[in-house]
Subunit: 183 residues, 2 copies
DNA sequence: CGACAGGTAGAGCGATCGCTCTACTTTTCG
DNA sequence: CGAAAAGTAGAGCGATCGCTCTACCTGTCG
């Protein structure tokens, strides 16, 4: 059943997010998902597949998390950063799950591909939003700046604390938009 | 001997940097350092101590790497970002060793402490440089912006490619300085 | 009914893990 | 010289790893 696979993927995502990748083996993952070892392996035939499955699930979760928000103006552009702040406060402040995975398995082609795909679409998110708010203008550089701030904020929140990193990133983003006369 | 410990630490740093933390056990580290298992454990009595040792060594290496450069003007402030670009080109483009370690062992107090200490001093680097170039002005926010760009650049370079991330970060940093009339 | 897909529980495989230990050699130095 | 310190080589410990497999149960459907 697809329900089962979804349910397991949800638990894998939560588990890896909370405990990291190195600190728990397959048996621990099985227990968290509350299924038999056989069922776990039926849907995710290796530990690497479990990681990829968790990342794919997180990808969907996170883009759903970004939905909604202001449909125009600065608020529309900044929305992903605001939602990231919410995520860091309400869900987890443990860095980026994708980059954490990449850190542990830098040689895995499968993991690398999922990470690159996710990040490319995330960067595109800023590009799209800027294109909507400032149509006809070349906002490519600005999109890259906002994406860098997004990545920096995610990491800095871990060791500096959420509030400081979030305020700094939003302040910097607003300044960058203001400097380009986007309002 | 301290020489020996230094030499081992150098190899540990290189090894973890190139292969990641999860993908090699103590035996592989021993082989890279080209010492006996007993000697390795004499200087670093546990795998966690090896990681901490590698991070401490990297801390020293990296701050030495930042030395030199312009002593005033925008160049002085941007120097750490320029040197980071050099590092990503010449040494390794594998993200931040400290954050990679934290990703794998989020529950280790020892590792967490080293990471927080390193990052705090790195953030301070921008604060100091700005204070020198724009004495008497409140450049705290700007320093935080530059630090966020530094962190974002480090991560983005991994999956977007060095050039794109480095150019974007330097461009964004210059723009932020210009907007505050720092030259 | 009977076949089968998909679930549970858990024993157990070989490999590898972090780490300790023995036995011996080399270097340092009072 | 001779003791202590610090090195090498590597066997081997118990624990854990990822993963497979057997044995059994349950619901669906032709």
């Amino acid at each position: 059943m697809t329900d089962m696979k979804q349910r397991i993927a949800t638990e894998l995502e939560r588990s890896f997010s909370e405990q990291g990748f190195a600190e728990q083996g397959v048996e621990a993952l099985r227990a968290e998902a509350d299924v038999s070892l056989r069922t776990l392996y039926r849907h995710f035939p290796s530990r690497e597949a479990m990681i990829v499955g968790a990342l794919e699930h997180r990808d969907a979760t996170y883009f759903a998390w970004l939905e909604g928000g202001p449909e125009e103006g600065v608020g529309h552009v900044l929305h992903p950063l605001v939602r990231l702040r919410d995520w860091l406060c309400e869900v987890a402040n443990t860095g980026c799950l994708f980059l954490n995975a990449l850190a542990e398995y830098p040689d895995s082609a499968a993991i690398g591909a999922v990470v690159r795909d996710h990040k490319a679409r995330l960067a595109e998110e800023f590009t799209r939003r800027l294109a909507r708010v400032a149509p006809g203008r070349d906002t490519g550089d600005l999109a890259e700046t906002l994406f860098l701030l997004h990545e920096g904020m995610t990491q800095a929140a871990r060791f500096q604390g959420r509030e400081k990193a979030c305020e700094a990133a939003l302040r910097a983003a607003r300044a960058a938009l203001a400097a380009e006369d986007i309002r």
